[in-house]
């Protein structure tokens, strides 16, 4: 007998886009009426953006295509992929919430799935009553729940409110109780989707710890999260999914690198040619032509590791000799606010550009916090401040929470601020 507890074989799942949000006879008739007149399905338009991996007719989308993998007993397997890569669909099928279109899977042992925390909680019931209902939904027997009741209540940390109806709970308390129930499941296989994205930082840490315990106790865990940090902490191996296909599997660190690298390929390199339309001020004397966002090795990228050096290469075309000017680069946060300015001439002195094309290379040394950013560019008269060419926002890029080596990653859910200043900390005990 082999040690494989989950075997997925040639699994396919398709969704009919036209079905989304419809399903009444009138809509079906309408669709049919369009079809006999040779017109396009009128309900297809809303979902056109989703069309990926089209096969044959365009109103079918493969949410999962030919998925094959085995999970060994005691493995903690992470599933990595962008939104819409098929991760959740895969978990739904493995949790038996919905069925596959083709192929199938086999499982040894009991599966408990946490696609959501607090499924089946009833507002009118007390915390204690909800523990029993929720536990039963997740597959526990009454005896099992009774045995663990004290432990569950203690883990949730809401002893005081346990006999109060759930509708009086704060959302945090609600989630704490729900996760406490889920965490005490005794199934051989646990499937979890994004459940750690709840509660405050302290509780998240507790949850991650509990998940680690579960994984450490020899049970099999399948885990989907967009939080690559917790994924790395929890899962030794991972699957990498893209557009409904399984593109790689292996060690988590390696998969995360591939995932971040793959993002680059999907979105294309950030920057490149700056179209004229991006300039909000343009006098005709000079123009920023190109912007490249690169890593240290000169590779174009738009997702950077935490604490990774970012290199910007600017091409400035000067149509006539310019004197007493300065060029600046801004970094904008995701709200479009300028969070920093750097000037090409760090001494804040006027400079001169000869006619012709200039290349400016700017190196940002590991000082941006995780987040989404873009660049702003300006070439202005040094004395009057009047812009010669001004680009409000261009070249989106992301700084991830993960670090390249895995040892200095950003550990928390909330990112405070945008810049890590170069500080010097001295500490001594004074009392």
């Amino acid at each position: 007998m082999s040690d494989v507890v989950i075997r997925v074989e040639n699994l396919y799942k398709h969704y009919r886009l036209g079905m989304i949000g419809t399903g009444t006879l009138s809509h079906d008739l309408n669709r049919w009426w369009y079809a006999i007149r040779g017109k396009e399905n009128p309900y297809l338009k809303i979902s056109e953006k989703n069309v990926r991996g089209v096969k044959g007719k365009s109103d079918y989308v493969w949410a999962l295509e030919d998925i094959n993998f085995d999970v060994k007993r005691g493995a903690t397997l992470g599933i990595i992929g962008k939104n819409g890569a098929g991760k959740s669909t895969l978990l739904k099928i493995l949790s038996r919430v919905t069925g596959p279109t083709k192929g199938g899977f086999k499982v040894k042992g009991r599966i408990a799935s946490l696609l959501e925390v607090g499924t089946g909680f009833h507002q009118e019931l007390t915390g204690r009553e909800n523990i029993f209902t929720n536990g039963a939904i997740l597959g526990m027997t009454k005896a099992e729940i009774k045995k663990k009741l004290d432990e569950i209540i203690a883990f949730s940390g809401i002893e005081r409110y346990i006999d109060t109806p759930a509708k009086r709970y704060s959302s945090g308390m609600y989630v704490r109780l729900a996760f406490a129930v889920a965490a005490h499941l005794d199934s051989e296989i646990l499937i979890a989707d994004e459940v750690l994205a709840v509660g405050d930082a302290e509780f998240q840490k507790k949850c991650l710890g509990k998940m680690k315990d579960v994984a450490g106790s020899g049970r099999t865990v399948l885990f989907v999260s967009h939080n690559l940090v917790s994924l790395r902490a929890l899962c030794t191996t991972s699957l990498l999914m893209q557009h409904g296909k399984l593109i790689a599997s292996g060690e988590t660190n390696q998969m995360i690198s591939m995932y971040l690298a793959a993002n680059k390929q999907i979105e294309g390199a950030a920057g490149a040619d700056i179209p004229q339309s991006e300039s909000s001020v343009f006098t005709g004397e000079a123009k920023f032509k190109k912007l490249y966002v690169l890593d240290e090795n000169g590779e174009p990228k738009n997702t950077f590791f935490f604490n990774e050096t970012i290199v910007i290469v600017l091409h400035l075309e000067v149509y006539q000799k310019l004197e007493n000017v300065m060029s600046n680069i801004f970094v904008l946060n995701q709200f479009g606010e300028r969070i920093l300015m750097a000037t090409a001439n760090s001494g804040y002195k006027p400079c001169t550009y000869e006619k012709g094309e200039h290349e400016i290379t700017i190196k940002f040394n590991d000082n941006l916090m995780p987040g989404e950013y873009s660049f702003g560019l300006s070439l202005a008269n040094f004395f009057t401040g009047a812009n010669i060419d001004f680009v409000e926002s261009f070249g989106n890029f992301t700084v991830a929470k993960e670090s390249k080596s895995g040892d200095t990653e950003y550990p928390w859910a909330t990112v405070h601020g945008y810049i890590q200043p170069d500080t010097d900390w001295k500490e001594k005990k004074i009392n």
């Binding site: 007998m1 082999s2 075997r7 396919y12 969704y15 079905m19 399903g23 009444t24 006879l25 739904k92 099928i93 949790s95 038996r96 919430v97 919905t98 069925g99 596959p100 279109t101 083709k102 192929g103 199938g104 899977f105 086999k106 499982v107 040894k108 042992g109 009991r110 599966i111 799935s113 696609l115 959501e116 499924t119 089946g120 009833h122 009118e124 019931l125 009553e129 029993f132 209902t133 039963a136 939904i137 997740l138 597959g139 526990m140 027997t141 009454k142 109806p165």
Partner: protein
Amino acid sequence: MKEKETTEHWDVVVDADKNRISINIRELWRYRDLIMQFAKRDIATVYYQTILGPLWFLIQPLLTSLLFIVVFSNIAGIKTDGIPGILFYLSGLTVWGYFLTSFNATSNTFVTNAAIFGKVYFPRMVTPISKIISSLFIFGVQFLLFLGFLIYFMLFKGLHMSVNIYMLLIPYLVLVMGGIGLGAGIIISSLTTKYRDITFLVTFGVQLLLYLTPVIYPMTEIVGKKRMIILANPISSVVEGFRYAFFPVGQFPFKHLAYSSIVMVIMLFAGMLMFNKIEKNFMDTV
């Protein structure tokens, strides 16, 4: 390698290509605690934040009976087989009510539980079965009300009633009623996942069904073709038999009860097949 695999034991096998129908009784049994938990929750949450609480279960049949006395007995002059009006109507309404609550509670299983079904797996039949059990509780309360009136009439109104053997059949009658309610409910719930229109049709149909059931009138008043139509309704014999157990007028409808039992088995079987087929992929169409 394929041959080696077949010797391995897998607890769960899902294969889209082998679309077999499976009604897994053992799995349902394993989830019996969930069934009871759902049933308890349904009963408990009905009267949360109401002043009268479970009394509402009694007020409904009581008021309906009074209304029937005024409209059908007094105004329309429909006979009640010599049984006091309140007892006649209550006996009919109590057992009809069990069908109605069972059917109403199960006929929208997929639509009302889509949120839970979309997030966690458990045998979907757990939900309708738990509804039948919570409906049974409501039936029990209403049955006690009926017995209360019966005793009152015996003690103070000189109603003569003797214990008869047909009373032993009451549990079976209740079982048939619940079975038909469940069967019809899961058939309808399977149909409504895609076309909600059926819901409206069904609401109307159930209202009509009340008039095709001897709740308002006694079976003894109905003759000829009309009798055939009413007896084609499988609920009729159950209502008739239930009333007969307390007020033996005419004959116990054994033959018709056998017919109802067969209809129940067919409905349950067909319902389970449909339910089984729908439950696998309904999340994509609901």
